[in-house]
């Protein structure tokens, strides 16, 4: 049972609600994919005959033997990722999970050490890989550019495929959490009913007892109208401009839960004269990578790559408002998948504020802006995934110059929730221990409104302090309007 296609189709013929277990049993096994046959024919050209023809220069170029090219379509062999490692353990010192979870040895072991100790057929990824939250802070800490999160993602995928029972509660729960888009697609059709049900204590209790989803957190509420529905109602783009085009990758959360973020994105970009496209799209795969559901992520990636590459072909750059979505498209996609155009997609993807800072005179647009000193006092948290894109300081820099606005950085710790990690019963306490530092700094900050680009960080910030949390694009949209 595949997740439903785009909303436009599904609105015509509502689909019956399918119980989760059925959805799970039909996952294609990774062993069905045949990396072996693919590797031999990786450039779509049959290898030469045995008559001793001369070799081409290409065949001896070491750069043509990258893991993603050589092992395309199936499990990667990432042992040579350990070549860059010089054992400085910087990755371990930046790992928020290792700091609070005794059973977690840290990225250095999970990545380069574990891979290097592995032989090709060994299936003994240590189970601690499932304790990695995929925050990817290790990547930005490593001075040698070891492909740590790539190694972790691949190990995790292998662990789930080969060593985890598909009937175990852990597997079922993780699959459900990873496929948020599927369930949100259903729940958002009857938002008020869904919100009522998920808001009940008994629902949270059942989630914990049956699946291991923590009852400590409140399920996110669905908006009464999804972003895509609003976009369709509105009639699509309000501006036509073939020279300034952006394709918006809204992500699951901005579509189903916080469409105001998407609306703000549209307002801001249209105010700078951009034509906004909203192509058909699926989940960026972030929760799937984090849970080792690489095949699910690949399926969604096929749609995303196809649609977004087409948009790039029409002159658009791809904009994401969720920093995990943008990181997934820019890094995890080219690292783990070998699809036509995936490198172009990565090169053309930006986060929203990032794009404007590079291509527009944002400073000029904000020069005359004024903020409300009481309301516009923000405690900003840079999501871990934003750090890896160099975006940790951009909100601060942008908004600091606005007259009357206060914005403070609540420190460089991880928020602790890291997507699906903090939703798991057995990880909840760890996620709160990790986030403690951020909560302390938020309470100490002047402002009582949080700001962040990541939807799950926002959930955590609210959960730990009760603050309302806004997206920088929302604040930007309002602030720019005060200048005009």
């Amino acid at each position: 049972m595949n997740p439903p296609p785009d909303e436009e189709d599904s609105r015509a013929a509502p689909r019956p609600r399918v119980p989760p277990t059925e959805a799970v049993l039909s996952e294609p096994s990774l062993s069905d994919l045949d990396p072996v046959a693919d590797a031999a024919d990786r450039w779509g050209v049959t290898t030469t005959a045995t008559d001793g023809g001369t070799s081409t220069q290409d065949s001896l170029d070491p750069d043509n033997y990258d893991a993603v090219d050589v092992f395309s379509g199936g499990a990667l062999d990432l042992r040579d990722g350990s070549d860059s490692c010089y054992k400085c353990t910087s990755c371990n010192t930046s790992c928020p999970v290792a700091e609070v979870d005794d059973s977690f040895p840290g990225p250095k072991f999970q990545g380069p050490e574990q891979w290097r100790l592995k032989r090709k057929e060994d299936q003994d990824i240590d189970e601690s890989i499932m304790s990695c939250s995929n925050c990817m802070r290790c990547d930005s800490a490593c001075p040698s550019s070891v492909p740590l999160s790539q190694m972790h993602n691949e190990a995790r995928g292998e662990y789930v495929a080969e060593q985890m029972s598909k009937l175990s509660r852990e597997y079922v729960r993780n699959r459900i959490l990873s496929n948020y888009r599927f369930f949100a697609g259903i729940g958002s059709k009857i938002p008020r009913v869904t919100n009522f049900i998920t808001g009940l204590g008994v629902t949270r209790w059942a989630g914990e007892k049956l699946l291991g989803i923590t009852s400590e957190r409140e399920f996110p509420a669905f908006a009464t109208e999804t972003f895509r529905a609003w976009w369709q109602d509105r009639g699509g783009a309000a501006i036509e401009n073939p020279d300034k085009r952006v394709a918006y990758f809204h992500g699951c959360y901005s579509n189903f839960n916080t469409p105001e973020v998407g609306k703000a994105m549209v307002r801001v970009f249209e105010s700078f004269g951009y034509e906004v496209l909203v192509p058909p799209q699926k989940c960026s795969g972030t929760p799937m990578f984090a849970n080792g559901m690489v095949a699910d992520a690949r399926r969604h990636a096929e749609t995303n790559v196809r649609e977004l590459v087409a948009a790039i072909g029409e002159g658009a750059d791809v904009i994401a408002s969720c920093t995990s979505c943008s990181l997934s498209l820019r890094q995890e996609y080219p690292e783990l998948f070998d699809m036509n155009g995936i490198d172009d997609l990565a090169a053309h993807t930006y986060e929203g504020l990032e794009y404007l800072r590079i291509h527009e005179d944002l400073d000029g647009a904000l020069a005359e802006a004024a903020a409300d000193e009481d309301a516009d006092s923000y405690a900003y948290h840079a999501p871990c995934h934003a750090r890896n894109q160099g975006l940790a300081r951009q909100a601060l820099e942008t908004f600091r110059q606005v007259d009357g606005m206060t914005i403070e950085d609540v420190g460089d710790s991880c928020s602790g929730i890291s997507g699906t990690y903090g939703w798991k019963t057995e990880k909840y306490d760890y996620s709160m221990a990790i986030g403690e530092e951020m909560f302390d700094h938020m309470e100490a900050a002047t402002g009582e409104t949080g700001m962040t680009e990541c939807p799950t960080c926002a959930m955590q910030m609210e959960h730990g302090t009760g603050y309302e949390v806004r997206h920088p694009l929302e604040v930007l949209a309002e602030t720019i309007e005060t200048a005009s």
């Binding site: 010089y86 054992k87 400085c88 353990t89 910087s90 371990n92 010192t93 930046s94 790992c95 290792a98 700091e99 609070v100 005794d102 059973s103 040895p105 840290g106 072991f109 930005s140 800490a141 490593c142 001075p143 040698s144 550019s145 820019r330 890094q331 490198d343 990565a346 090169a347 053309h348 993807t349 930006y350 990032e354 800072r357 590079i358 291509h359 527009e360 005179d361 944002l362 750090r387 890896n388 894109q389 160099g390 975006l391 940790a392 300081r393 951009q394 820099e397 950085d409 460089d412 221990a433 403690e436 530092e437």
Partner: protein, 453 residues
Amino acid sequence: MAITSDVLVIGGGLAGVTAAVSAAREGADVRLISHKHSTMQQASGLIDALGYLPPTGDDAELTPTAGRTGAMDQRATPEGPLPEPFAAVDRLPEGHPYRLVGAEALRSGLALFDEMVDSYHGAHTDRNALVPTFGGSVKPTARYPASVAGGLASDGAPMLVVGFRSLAAFDARQVAGQLRETGVPFSVAGRELTLPAGLADDMTPTRVAHALDRDERLDGTPARAALAALIEPHLDAVKGGAARVGLPACLGDERVEAVCEELSDRLGARVFEIPMGPPSLPGLRLSDRLYESLDEAGVRYETGNPVVGVETDADGRVDAVLVDRKGTEIPYGADGIVLATGGLVGKGLDSDREGVREPVLGCHVPHPAERYEWYVDDVFGDQPYARFGVATDERLRPLDAAGGVQFPNVHVAGATLGGADVAREKSASGVSLATGVVAGRQAAKVAATGVVG
């Protein structure tokens, strides 16, 4: 161009941060860009100015043979530890960065450091301090964190060294034995303890630090009390009773001073940290504090993306550097540029079988063409590779192969510079501070006056 500043500092380690703050104090609008976290978290967290004048003269041209494995027994005695770093500067080789910028720059660098980081000791005197190392020796240093101060080797108070069984990096009994052999003027004993239940065998030192910072309950008891209770019975192990207790440097992150204070109170003895190699909590704390001082100085910074190229004008003046944002290159413009990307460890210098290079701007790196002349047989000998780096004029502008200025508005600082054997001299941080200050001032001057000649 959207992203511009007066001064752009490439590299976020000790040298880069020092240069950025130094330039900001001259009134420049400064942006700092760093690809990854600083390598300070690999270093002990101590600030070394100059500790030794190491012996030179090993022959790098000998063909390696199977029989000649490195004359450890013939190793010449190094001069040191030096009680006073400044006086020895003139005796360093000509091309050494300290000779280029002068001992005064080292003083300025240390003074700026003292302002940026007020939790370090050592400024009350010009002399070096001797700090016990986790290898069991003592090393000279110029500045040390408050949490280390209790363990100075020139202090005669009896010392108990405590290790944790699950921390393989040192055995306290061995450390104590080694310290005795270096002739320290205090009685010392070592004991190995098993950490409280709840902390696994291969957990990282940051786990211990976190547990102590937050005073987590381990098996019911708050961590600090639990640790003190473990140590207490061993205070008598050293003659005269321990007046101070040294532990591996993982006694906390944000709250290390509070942790040390509480442990000291509970034990009735000064508790101090013994600096370790990576992962180094003191190095991590130092890095955090330096980034706070960047913010305080009004420097804008970003980390996560590498500089991969440069745009220059006809005179070699750099107009902009190109920053790689996951596949797209964005130009960052500036008038004055500081290159502080690190050396072989920080990845500011790169190499392959053909040669050694500086990969970001393409500065010339002098080195022998024959790669078997990059090393000598004695592992602790006068290693040529340890001195690799960019050669500069006295304004720290990089020189090309012919000796002319390669980029007139670029100033190089820190480990990217050649000419120093920082490992054996114990001078790495001092070089970063001294050249960071000078590079920052020079870059700010270029931005202010527009003059590069």
